[in-house]
């Protein structure tokens, strides 16, 4: 088995066999068989190999195990080559103490990682065969930049895989409780980071109280991956008690952090049911774990501050809320009191207004009443005075008219009586004149005379004879005579 491995390791099997036969030139013959001692053979192999592989070669391989022996300081790395997961080549190797120190320093410088198990290396080696120890590669130097690239590739692959599985952001998408006060700490009890973390948390001046429980774990180097995973598993079982997992590493320098690029670990963290925050404390490139963790802080102190900040983020609004409640509730009451007070003022003024309005109306009515009654009385009195005056005037006017009429009567009477008397007088005078005119005396005066016979006035010739005595009366006397003759003049 071992030989086959060795054979399979050689580049040219045919050539090797030929050389081997050359080396075995002095064999012992036993029972027709050429018999070599083991040493002869191995020496032959040694010689052949030494002749064949004179220089050192750059070889790339996976270093499964470093196999560092601390007491000797030498390493015996296990080198393999795999194809499709199967080991297709394998060889022992030796890294002497001095070389190891040298290489390891280079690694630490370049990779920030020590030389360790499970990395791919490009190494300068001489093929060595020792009859006692067999075939091995003596590693003279290892090129750290090759391994760096490989580690970077692994990291990228991890990222790619997580992304392709859709879990890269899984932990980030979790909700961290408002108060992440229950902390499962994955750290090393004696580490400075842990101490710093606790100091910041527990001596906070706001009296914020945290609950934390340490889950001790390796935090760097290859074994850290498993260790952390184990603790994560434990935490997962009691996750109800925790708000957050804090992976805290501090004071370890930047060495041995490639474990945080490990897919398994990264996956575990990505899928972890509660937020995982990391404070791994280094200055180099961010590891995958840091990328996918819920939150990453550069140092443990920063994690603590991050958590305290969360408390602040909670506490400050609560404080503000309290202040606002105080202010606003009192303000609300005082505003309401003001509003209420002004409403009451308004109430008073509007009621007073309406009352004043009504009072004025009443007053107007009273005034009107006084005025109207006064006016009315004045009018009535006026009329009574007028009536009195009218009576006086009317009666006097009437009396005066009557008097006038009566005086008129008197005048008429006087006039008519006088005129009647005058008329009567005139009439009498006229009659007197007539009578005077017609009296015999007046007639006689005008020359007429009356002739009488026997005391009677003669009007005709009848009954008158000659000689009858006649008496003729004239105005101034009487004439006595006798009739001589008479003549009748009227037929």
């Amino acid at each position: 088995m071992k030989e086959s491995i060795i054979l399979s390791f050689t580049e040219n099997t045919a050539l090797t066999c030929a050389r081997l036969s050359k080396i075995l030139t002095m064999p012992e013959i036993v029972n027709d068989k050429t018999v070599f001692t083991l040493l002869e053979v191995t020496k032959s192999i040694q010689k052949t190999l030494a002749e064949r592989y004179k220089s050192a070669y750059w070889v790339k391989a996976e270093m499964n195990k470093l196999n560092y022996y601390s007491h000797s300081g030498h390493c015996y790395p296990e080198l393999v080559e795999k194809a499709n997961g199967k080991v297709i080549a394998q060889i022992k190797s030796i890294l002497w103490k001095d070389d190891y120190i040298n290489v390891n320093n280079n690694f630490l410088n370049v990779l920030k990682e020590p030389l360790k198990d499970g990395i791919k290396i490009l190494f300068l080696a001489k093929i060595s065969f020792d009859p006692a120890y067999g075939l091995s590669l003596r590693i003279i130097d290892i090129d750290p930049s090759y391994t760096l690239g490989d580690l970077e590739k692994e990291k990228q692959e991890t990222i790619k895989r997580l992304k392709s599985e859709g879990i890269f952001n899984r932990n980030k998408l979790l909700q961290i409780p408002m108060l992440p006060k229950r902390i499962a700490i994955i750290s090393v009890e004696t580490s400075k980071g842990y101490a710093d973390f606790l100091k910041v948390l527990e001596t906070n001046s706001w009296n914020y109280k945290f609950f934390h429980l340490l889950y001790p774990s390796l935090l760097q180097g290859d074994r850290a991956t498993v260790s952390i995973k184990n603790q994560l598993k434990r935490i997962k079982k009691v996750r109800e008690h925790f708000d957050v997992v804090a992976i805290i590493r501090g004071g370890g320098g930047d060495i041995g952090l490639s474990c945080y690029n490990n897919y398994e670990l990264a996956r575990e963290i990505a899928l972890f049911p509660i937020p995982v925050i990391t404070g791994i404390g280094h200055v180099t490139n961010e590891t995958v774990v840091e990328m996918i963790s819920f939150s990453n802080a550069i140092t443990p102190t920063k994690i603590a501050e991050y958590l305290l900040q969360k408390f602040h983020n909670f506490s400050v609004p609560v404080q503000k809320a309290e202040e606002k409640i105080r202010d606003k509730s009192r303000r609300l009451i005082s505003d309401e009191k003001t509003k209420f007070g002004s409403e009451i003022k308004l109430f008073r003024s509007v009621t007073e207004n309406i009352l004043i309005g009504n009072r004025n109306q009443i007053k107007e009515n009273i005034n009107s009443l006084v005025q109207q009654t006064t006016f009315r009385f004045k009018n009535e009195k006026e009329y009574l005075r007028f009536g009195r005056e009218e009576i006086k005037r009317g009666t006097f006017k009437f009396c005066a008219a009557e008097k006038q009429e009566i005086n008129g009567f008197a005048l008429i009477m006087k006039k008519d009586v006088i005129s009647q008397i005058i008329q009567s007088k005139t009439a009498l005078n006229n009659m007197e004149k007539n009578i005077e005119n017609m009296s015999p005396q007046s007639v006689l005066k005008r020359g007429y005379s009356i002739t009488m016979s026997n005391g009677k006035a003669i009007k005709s010739t009848e009954n008158l004879k000659e000689g009858d005595a006649l008496e003729t009366i004239v105005y101034e006397g009487r004439i006595f005579s006798l009739v001589k003759s008479s003549i009748k003049t009227i037929e």
């Binding site: 005086n407 008197a410 009477m413 006087k414 009586v417 006088i418 008397i421 009567s424 007088k425 009439a427 009498l428 009659m431 007197e432 007539n434 009578i435 005077e436 017609m438 009296s439 015999p440 005396q441 009356i450 009677k456 006035a457």
Partner: protein
């Protein structure tokens, strides 16, 4: 004819005498008697008129005076 006739009687008689005389119904014989009568009647009438006039004058004068100063007599009416 002892009684003095009234003015009206006297005046009427007088008128009738005048009328008789005017119509010549009275003979010369009666005439002077009638004229005498008329003269009497005229006298009577004239006297009556005069006395009436005097009466009336007095009454009216009294009326004038009383109506102008009728306070005193007011009670006596």
């Amino acid at each position: 004819m002892s009684d003095i006739p009234t003015y009206t009687e006297a005046f009427d008689e007088l008128q009738s005498i005048v009328s008789e005389i005017e119509q010549g119904e009275i003979s010369v014989d009666e005439l002077s008697e009638k004229v005498k009568r008329a003269a009497l009647l005229i006298k009577i009438c004239k006297q009556k008129l005069t006395s009436t006039e005097e009466d009336v004058d007095r009454i009216l004068r009294e009326l004038d005076t009383t109506t102008n100063e009728n306070d005193a007599q007011q009670n006596g009416s």
